[in-house]
Symmetry: C2
Subunit: 704 residues, 2 copies
């Protein structure tokens, strides 16, 4: 019998009033929590432009949040915002001439004899960027009257690529379904799209490709253009231009033509008419992104034409509308036995100078496919006449989906700051991409989005940081990823935890490298879904689909020889780099097994054998996750309960999966090299057969 007990349920009315408004992550980094010395703002918009109005609204909204619901102060600080098109701003003669279309100035000025903060720009979107910059700085603890900024983005196209299918499945998506509800559009326009646009604008993103690069022709039909137009209407006032992925064979599938040969006048005419139709629906349409002759997609090579032929035909179609073609260089052929990492360079470098001037070629950060670590793609610096878009993957296809905490700002910065030596020392990837190395005006950075219908947008709180860092690095490729991590953490949590949260984030990607693919290994993930370890897979149809293709481990050694004795991929890099990469003593441990096949007993600079070093890396990776967990636990008093718990739960999964990666990999390598475990290394928790037996048919994000 139950012990009878009378007890009183006393519940805080406050806590009950809005339980659904708990910290569920929906607000991203735009939380606008109460500040101790909340500045009161009297925002005055110098013109009636819709985007300037949004900027004013954002400032008011932030200020209301900072006040925490308190009434506006009677004597608020005047804040005048607008473009040089307004007399009030023009009269201030601010140094806007060199800030271009998207730059802005924030400073104090005397307006009509009154001390006034001013956000000024050449175009309305610059005012919006300035407003978000001011908010960002206040929320990091800067005193508003000390803020004086002149800024402009270094890259013109700061673009998200959504790999979102028309049925709402997101390829490589780990955050629910697509936020683009094609079925209900254009009649039902989810208010969430406004929040999406706003979040992008707050970090400077100004372009979005709405559909998967593995494209369906349907996205170019009239009904789907009307749907895309409804999305574009939402994005427009936030300074975001809409792009679509185009399926190269659409003239056949939609137009009833017999061919999609780019040299066929009927094909070119079809695309011209289609471009006209698209721009009628979306007057500020940006252009087409194309994945051609890559992983089964149709393309110009089907007709013996080159990628340049294909891109230029489309470029001609979009030119009358000021449109752009972004053509992906991610190609590798099932008929080409050459090292997959070499093939894009081989195919695209000869085309340098052959692309129309409204074509950008989009190159993944590394030559393979978004691995935890790759050397930069050798095309960077190798196509001086062609503007290259750097393509990063924000969604973590190969880095633990949205469960593992892995801050990618460090990875992207590592690539952007890498020196191509294309025009001598200091020819960084950043300078290639921002156009400064070769004087390109048309420039771009693309990120494969990690956005979905999950309430927290990205599948986890910390994955929001990657969306954030992508936008900020696209704005300034030289930005310090540690500063961006602190910036994000201050806004997402609080300035008080910015430093310790950033301290968790900064080594997190190296931890993933260590427990998944240490010392330059790559592509050892499970087949298809890329979840979990599967270095043993050797039975897939195409050689380069198999992990064994990449690690080449046998009883004697491990690694992919990409020196002259092997595939000679090193030769695709500039001379000084090629020399450095070609020597295992100078390549450095990050790319050691990427470029070299070495014996298991190879002596490492750190002492001991390669085998010992390899196991040490796995253990280091697992330990790093343990450290992150401890760091997070220490933050418990400073983090709201809901987000604290969900991050804690994910970190527990990450530690378990890091161990799994380590144990399965070590068990497999042992089965290959027959070596005993290094002294002090723990035996794998289970047998290799167990690890091989695991299957994950319902893993999210798979291609369809």
């Amino acid at each position: 019998m139950r012990t009878p007990a009378i007890w009183l349920a006393i519940l805080s009315a406050l806590g009950l009033a809005a339980p659904a408004a708990a910290e569920d992550g929906y607000d991203l980094w735009l939380r606008h929590r109460p500040l101790a010395d909340a500045p009161a703002l009297a925002v005055e918009a110098a013109e009636a432009d819709a985007t300037v109005r949004l900027a004013a609204r954002e400032l008011e909204r932030a200020a209301a949040g900072w006040r925490g619901g308190a009434a506006p102060a009677v004597s608020a600080r005047a804040l005048l915002i607008g473009t040089t098109a307004s007399p009030a701003i023009a009269a201030l003669r601010l140094p806007l001439a060199k800030l271009g279309e998207d730059g802005f100035v924030i400073r104090s000025a005397s307006v009509g004899g009154r001390a006034t903060m001013v956000i000024a720009a050449n175009r309305p979107v610059g005012v919006l960027y300035g407003a978000f910059a001011l908010i960002r700085r206040v929320e990091q603890g800067e005193a508003i009257d000390r803020i004086a900024v002149q800024d402009r983005p270094r890259v013109a196209l700061r673009m998200l690529n959504h790999w979102d299918n028309l049925d709402r499945h997101v390829e490589r998506g780990y955050a629910g379904q697509s936020i683009f509800d094609w079925w209900r559009l254009p009649d039902r326009v989810d208010p969430r799209l406004t929040d999406y646009a706003r979040a992008n604008a707050s970090i400077g993103i100004n372009a979005a490709v709405l559909n998967n690069v593995n494209a369906k022709a349907d996205s170019l039909t009239a009904p789907y253009l009307a749907k895309a137009a409804a999305v574009a209407d939402v994005l427009r006032p936030w300074g975001i231009r809409t792009f679509l992925s185009a399926r190269f064979s659409a003239p056949i599938e939609l137009g009833g033509l017999k061919t999609a040969d780019p040299r066929d006048p009927a094909v070119a005419a079809w695309w011209r008419a289609k471009a006209d139709e698209v721009w009628r629906a979306i007057p500020d349409f940006g252009g087409f992104l194309v994945k051609a002759n890559s992983e089964g997609q149709p393309g110009p090579r089907d007709y013996g034409a080159s990628h340049a032929d294909g891109a230029n035909m489309l470029a001609a179609a979009v030119r009358p509308h000021g449109g752009t073609v972004v053509w992906r260089a991610f190609v590798y052929a099932d008929t080409d036995p050459a090292d997959r990492a070499k093939q894009a360079w081989t195919e695209f470098r000869p085309l340098d100078g052959k692309f129309a001037d409204n074509v950008l070629v989009q190159v993944k950060n590394g030559p393979l496919d978004f691995q935890p670590r790759e050397p930069f793609h050798p095309l960077f610096g190798a196509m001086p006449k062609t503007p290259l878009v750097a393509e990063f993957q924000i969604t973590k296809e190969y880095l633990g989906f949205s469960t593992h905490l892995a801050y990618l700002g460090t990875m992207w910065s590592e690539v952007l700051s890498a020196d191509t030596f294309a025009k001598g020392k200091g020819s960084t990837v950043a300078k290639v991409v921002d156009g400064s190395l070769e004087g390109h005006r048309l420039t771009g950075i693309a990120g494969v989005a990690n956005i979905g219908t999950d309430r927290d947008w990205s599948g986890s709180i910390f994955d929001q940081a990657n969306w954030y860092a992508f936008g900020r690095l696209a704005w300034d490729p030289a930005a310090d990823p540690a500063a961006l991590a602190r910036e994000w953490a201050a806004q997402t949590f609080s300035p008080a935890v910015a430093a310790p949260v950033a301290a968790m984030m900064m080594p997190s990607r190296q931890a993933v490298v260590d427990y998944m693919t240490p010392l330059g290994l790559a592509h050892l993930m499970g087949t298809g879904h890329h979840y979990g370890p599967a270095p043993w897979v050797a039975d897939l149809a195409r050689p380069e689909w198999n992990p064994v293709y990449y690690h080449r481990a046998d009883a004697r050694g491990i690694g992919f020889d990409r020196t002259r004795t092997g595939s000679d991929a090193v030769a695709q890099y500039a001379r000084p780099l090629a020399r450095r990469f070609a020597d295992p003593r100078t390549v450095g441990e990050d790319y050691l097994l990427w470029f070299h096949h070495l014996p298991w007993d190879y002596r490492m600079p750190e002492g001991g054998t390669l085998w010992q070093a390899l196991v040490r890396r796995y253990d280091r990776g697992v330990a790093a996750v343990g450290t992150m967990r401890a760091q997070w636990q220490a933050l418990r008093p400073d983090i709201d309960a809901e987000r604290f718990r969900v991050v804690s739960d994910d970190l527990a999964v990450q530690e378990r999966e890091a161990r799994w990666w380590r144990d399965a990999s070590v068990a497999y390598w042992t089965s290959i090299n027959g070596l005993p475990l290094p002294a002090g290394a723990a035996a794998p928790a289970d047998t290799l057969d167990h690890y091989k037996s695991l299957s994950f048919p319902y893993a999210p994000g798979q291609g369809k």
Copy 2:
């Protein structure tokens, strides 16, 4: 040049403070908006039970909402809640003896000399139901001190069936992905699951089948049972038991057996061991739902055994744990040329009396498949020795997905109040289902859920009403659907609009019948996705997959002859009904073409020909949607902007699609009968070829 204009952006701080907390539908009917005479409650729980604690919390939460954030009143009304296990409740000697496990009493009493409201029950879940009943009544405007209720559910198992796949795709789901995130479970338990459980408990639902009846064996593996257990842990305190759909061939797929023959001892042993494992993971597990030998699913018929053999073998496995087997009667064989509408009766009726006493047979409301209107399933009343679960489809596979406003309370009530004449007049389906006709103790009603990750849960605000009405009708199959519509509308919007909103809802399902499948027509929807009209489809592999199978229209007439001159399906009904159905003069217009093939110039009781009447019904259906739109527009002042807009947008789509249904159908019938349009009827807006050319490859909810 832009006209320079200075304008001041004045924005309400209140409006800005919580824009994300707009009326997005997440709160369902549990909104607890401020009331004019908000009763202040001092809730006292008579015992420390978790469920009683939840009941107390719900009451406090509602009362806080009614106060609208104002401080609790100093002299609050005492409200004592608890079960007869507590001395304080037991001492009141309330009339709980006949209220069973789930019933409750609400009344005023003197407790310790103090006037006190009391919610009392035999079990904690009854207290929870009582708490929600009290809240529901207050929110409909009842004065709290006048509330005196004794209530109990008429049906034991009030069950949702989720057709949710393990990859989160929801078959026939139009509200986003599955709320069951199998991939992240059990580590990540979405707080939304608590809100799901709470919503169900508030309307009396006490069982949930978590996975699709088109089941994968994987759901019975240890990892997936751990995931289901994590869900069950959330549902348990809300009085909801967890069920799983079981794949009949699991002993082969998981157990490595050569057969799933229910008469094989190894198969029975496998299921016993599996049941033991399931109950170890989920101690209050409810049992298995099985779709066997139906639309490609494996089953006992594969081995020449009967459905009873299969169900009883499983029943033996779950019996030691007090478990239940729910066995679906939805069968039709590709090898059986008989009228599909007859096959379930033919197969199951001979099995009456052969099922174990912990087996329920689950029968769809009609003999076909959740059409806008069907006569009740002839198995109701035909299996007196077998408890039958009525299966309703809450998700609107055949009634316009979640876009069309169609209140299904009227449809279900129509079925439940239908007289089977099984034991003479008054032998309603409700009495079959609630067990009163034959004295069954084990009873159930199942609804195929319309719940997904959409913020509004059901894909539209008005589809929430179907979830609500299902729960309330499962509690009391005799409930008045008009009263339930008002109840829902009062809580979801406000008491002031309850009557006009209910007035929109009540004729809405008939409107769908009229513009899609008037006069007893059925199954004329597009292939596979069931979206839009496709009465012309005649080329599918199985005859009964084709709309032409159902309408049988030719130059002379239209309709399916199910009288003795045809399939004689009428003979499956009790004599008085069979007689009524067999005569076109007595069958009534609702089932006219369901049971009869009639000439186009058949004279209708209303005057004129069948052809004229048919077109008149289509036009009436379209007009009814126009009326709903006007009714909704008139409510604009009383509905929040966000929900007003989204409902308005959907109604516009519904009217457009109603016209499409009408025009495409009329165009098709004209092509068959060669008749001119009746006088005054508008010509279809487009050609039949146009309607035939439409295709919808990305329609949501398709089977996979």
